[in-house]
Amino acid sequence: MLQLLEQTWFRLEAYLQDGGVVMLPLVLVSLLMWVLIMDRIFFFRRLYRKTMSARSAWEHIQQQRMPDPGEYRGIVSLLVADFLENRSGDRMLDRFILDERVQHINRRMKDYLALIGVLAAIAPLLGLLGTVTGMIATFDVLSVFGTGNAKAMAGGISEALITTQTGLLVAIPGLYMKGFLDRRADNLIQRVKTVGYYLRRHL
């Protein structure tokens, strides 16, 4: 088991070395992208669970009662807590305040999603850059040794292909997760909006 792990690690090192300089930004992009993705996954998961129904939200507002963090931790309870902290007591003004709070929470749902998308889109471009540098290295070898030295040419070509492969392998799950998170965010935004309209009608 340990030997297998060691061997895999060695192969990884050789792979990164074959890829050349472009592998470093690729790894960094991948790491940053996945940190943001994981953070958003946890963030949405917290807001998804133990959510509050619109009726109990209205009850809480009527009774001026902060939601119990043990019972309610979802996004609706966040809206209720936010509104209770900021409400003025005037009915017309409260409606505007509620709208503003809904907007504020909805905007926070979209945080980092654009950045994740950009990082996922950058990865194949970095792979392309690696391809170009690899091909330049190949042609440098060609200009010195001619077509005879296949071994030296193979270095540049492997660099070109490895970076492309890595770029795609970083981008594909990244784009999938971007879509998944977008769906989650839309879902949560929809929830907040629905509850917002419900509360606005009752205020």
Binding site: Y15, L31, I41, P69
Partner: protein, 227 residues
């Protein structure tokens, strides 16, 4: 006033480790992803071969110093045997020659001069007979470097005349064409000029005999056909 703070604080406490968890899980995921990537390439892992090769190299290195020593040891006696051997031979030959007076010596005065053939060959070359070679005499057939097709004469094209021209030329030591002559032209006075113009522009790899570039005469027939 204390309650809203409580709610916020509790939420914040729960979310405190979120980024570290995200970082750790992302690192784990990345490690797994990048470790799987090399397995997409079906190249054999290089490390085990290194491990097996290294001890072998060391064994060879240990052997190397032994062999030169063993080789050096027998060498000096061989050299010593060789050096004295030729010296007496030369001396004895030099000594023996005057000792043998041959009767035949008087009969063969010009012998060595006639046997030496090189002057004869140079004489032939100087005469220019061996200067020009046919294509068959070459080490390898003539290789064309550039061979422009002739321009189809406009008048002949308009009238729809087809034909062929046989041309003879000399390829010199530098591979360019000299002394182009028309041997046969069918029909006459139509294609000759075009052929002469294009053949003079041809370049060949110089023909060689025994590795020496030589002048070669060659003959070719160019056909003019309308598509």
């Amino acid at each position: 006033m204390s309650r809203p703070n409580d709610y916020r604080q509790i939420l914040r406490q729960r979310n405190r480790g979120a980024w570290t968890w995200a970082l750790l899980s992302a690192m784990g995921l990345n490690l797994a992803l990048f470790m799987l990537m090399p397995h997409l390439l079906h190249s054999a892992p290089a490390k085990p071969t290194f491990d097996t090769l290294l001890p072998q190299i060391q064994v060879v290195r240990l052997k190397r110093p032994e062999s030169p020593i063993s080789r050096d040891a027998p060498r000096p006696p061989e050299v010593k045997r060789q050096q004295p051997a030729p010296q007496p031979d030369l001396n004895s030959a030099a000594l023996q020659r005057p000792v043998w007076p041959f009767e035949i010596n008087a009969r063969l005065p010009g012998g060595p001069d006639t046997i030496a053939l090189p002057p004869l060959e140079t004489n032939l070359k100087a005469l220019g007979i061996g200067d020009l070679f046919g294509v068959g005499d070459l080490d390898q057939p003539l290789i064309t470097l550039t061979r422009m097709p002739p321009i189809y004469p406009l008048g002949a094209k308009r009238r729809g005349i087809e034909g062929s021209v046989t041309v003879r030329f000399i390829v010199n030591e530098h591979g360019s064409v000299e002394k182009t002559t028309i041997i046969h032209a069918q029909p006459p006075d139509t294609f000759e000029e075009a052929v002469l113009r294009c053949v003079s522009g041809w370049r060949f790899q110089p023909g060689t005999v025994d590795g020496q570039p030589v002048r070669v005469w060659a003959e070719t027939t160019i056909h003019f056909t309308l598509d």
